[in-house]
């Protein structure tokens, strides 16, 4: 790794002031350090969040849950309030990487991590995401790549928390040079067609300080499911986050979000519609899951993702429904 200025501010405001051109924020560093080792980013300075006060708290009140951006995935996975109030978020934190990585990786970093596409990660491939004019995955090795929205760039977004936060309509609190703003998680993702160089809607020098989750209505459940090649340290082959509310015994206010299958996490309105108003049993779950995989455009080596995603969505629906039945109200 190249050398850099090392800055350890005490407050979020100081951190933003210190993060001038060429510098970048560092939370747990589990992604950033690997990007720096590969020479994909060479920041002139790192603004460490390690000493910034107030970023590592999980707070709960009538308004819901507030997750500090530097809360580790380990803390998120173990927190009982998160498990109770946003089960899909707890599921997704538990499913991510390894215990060693979860001890370091943070909420903010999970949302800001860069894609794992091996052409993007390889220093010798100047792919379209790195200013070139080719997506090497189209003709190349594409087992782990996108099966939706994959005409220009075939990355899949690697964030596990992203789909779970979308199921819970998370709101991001962002501090930047121009002050604080709030942004819905649904507005956070940037498609390659909009801007090839980034995956997220943060401007230069902006820092996520907090993620807010509103309380769930009564009789609501959520779940996150992921399929990996092996149990630990694997990015999902497919993932699904689901939330639904029971109206009588029928599903209402359904959210179905697909992960690891497109350049951004995909909320799937058609699949949601297929489940809405039906008893969320095995048959209805399968019907919705079939809707979710319609129109997939797999590449040479990732047709397997279609059947896998279908099973994943179905299982997430059934788990969310089971939790909704158990939930009070």
């Amino acid at each position: 790794m190249k050398n850099f200025d090392w800055i350890t501010p005490a407050t979020a405001k100081e951190a933003v002031e210190a993060c001038t051109a060429g510098r970048t924020f560092m939370g747990g560093g589990t992604d950033l350090v690997t990007l720096m080792k590969a020479g994909l980013v060479e920041p002139a300075g790192l603004v460490s969040l390690s000493r910034v006060t107030g970023l590592d708290a999980i707070a709960e009140d009538g308004e819901g849950l507030m997750l500090g951006a530097r809360v580790t995935l380990a803390a998120l996975a173990e927190n009982t309030a998160v498990a109770r109030r946003a089960p899909a978020v707890a599921d997704s934190a538990r499913n991510t990487a390894t215990p060693l990585v979860r001890n370091r990786a943070t909420v903010g970093g999970n949302l800001c991590q860069r894609p794992r596409c091996w052409y993007f990660r390889h220093p010798d491939y100047k792919c379209s995401k790195k200013g070139g004019d080719t997506c090497y995955a189209i003709e190349g090795e594409n087992k782990y790549h996108a099966i939706f929205e994959n005409t220009t760039c075939n990355i899949v977004h690697p964030s596990n928390l992203g789909p779970a936060f979308m199921a819970h309509d998370a709101e991001l609190v962002i501090l930047g040079p121009k002050g604080e703003r709030k942004l819905s998680i649904h507005e956070f993702w940037v498609r390659p067609e909009e801007d090839m160089k980034t995956e997220i809607a943060l401007d230069a020098g902006e820092l996520i300080t907090r993620v807010d989750l509103k309380p769930m209505p009564a009789r609501t459940g959520s779940a996150f499911e992921e399929v990996n090649e092996k149990q630990s340290f694997d990015w999902g082959l497919v993932a699904a986050a689901v939330r639904l509310t029971l109206d009588g015994d029928k599903a209402a206010d359904v959210r179905i979000i697909l992960g690891a299958v497109a350049p951004v996490p995909l909320r799937h309105a058609e699949a949601e519609k297929a489940l809405t108003g039906r008893v969320p049993d095995e048959k209805a779950a399968l019907a919705a899951a079939e809707k979710a995989v319609e129109g997939a455009t797999p590449l040479r080596d990732n047709h397997y993702k279609i059947a896998m995603l279908k099973a994943c969505v179905k299982n997430a629906i059934l788990m969310a429904a089971a939790r909704a039945r158990k939930a009070g109200g």
């Binding site: 790794m1 050398n3 090392w6 589990t30 390894t98 060693l100």
Partner: protein, 209 residues
């Protein structure tokens, strides 16, 4: 335990390698300084650009150390190449294998993903610090008794993850052990023996045998 202040006649493999190359010889042991000698570290050529050098002090296995590092050093390379603590192993270098596992303020982490500069003022524990006065830690004893290794390359990291687990849970279930060790890979496949070693160490720590 390796001693930096007592040159010995014994030629170790690592010492041989260090002596074999001029650059290695110049850049070998920079730190591992006892607190009373802090500030006397030699600076390797790559560190002589003052702007790039950070004087770092932290507590390594209970002893204060001072070392000069570049900001671009990981904790792992600082331990191995500059503090002569080679227990933590460099294998994948991106957090996938766990061979570099150390405890940072008591929490098990991949030292290949931790920057050295992050450790200022903090506590780092490595495999070298587990034995006290020549007496092995119960986890080390248990690994020997259960033959919980073959090639041994994953062992230092594996043992640190086991220690971290047993520090948090006195009697982990097999499921809990499997989950806690999910970040440590053993290519020899000694997982069953490791499981037995954790069981044995838990019993030993509880006072039984």
């Amino acid at each position: 335990m390796q001693q930096h202040d007592e040159p010995t006649e014994r030629v170790s493999r690592r010492g041989f390698l260090r002596g074999a190359g001029a650059s290695l010889a110049a850049g070998g042991v920079v730190g591992a300084i006892q607190s009373d000698k802090a500030g006397t570290a030699t600076v390797e050529p790559a560190l002589q650009n003052a702007a790039d050098v950070v004087a770092l002090s932290f507590v390594l296995n209970g002893k204060p150390v001072a070392v000069k590092v570049r900001t671009g050093f990981t904790l792992l390379e600082t331990l191995r190449d500059h503090l002569d603590h080679t227990g933590a192993k460099l294998v994948c270098d991106y957090g996938a294998c766990g061979a570099c596992t150390v405890l940072l303020d008591g929490v098990a982490v991949n030292s290949c993903l931790v920057l050295a500069v992050e450790c200022q003022g903090r506590k780092v524990e490595t495999i070298e610090g587990l034995a006290v006065d020549g007496k092995l830690h119960p986890v080390q004893e248990a690994f020997i008794a259960e033959d919980a290794r073959q090639c041994g390359f994953c062992t230092p990291g594996m043992i640190m993850s086991c220690k971290s687990l047993l520090d948090r849970k006195a009697a982990p279930t097999h499921q809990e052990t499997a989950e806690a060790l999910a970040g440590n890979i053993c290519r020899c496949g000694t997982y069953f023996n490791i499981q037995r070693a954790v069981d044995r160490a838990a019993k030993a720590k509880a006072g039984g045998r």
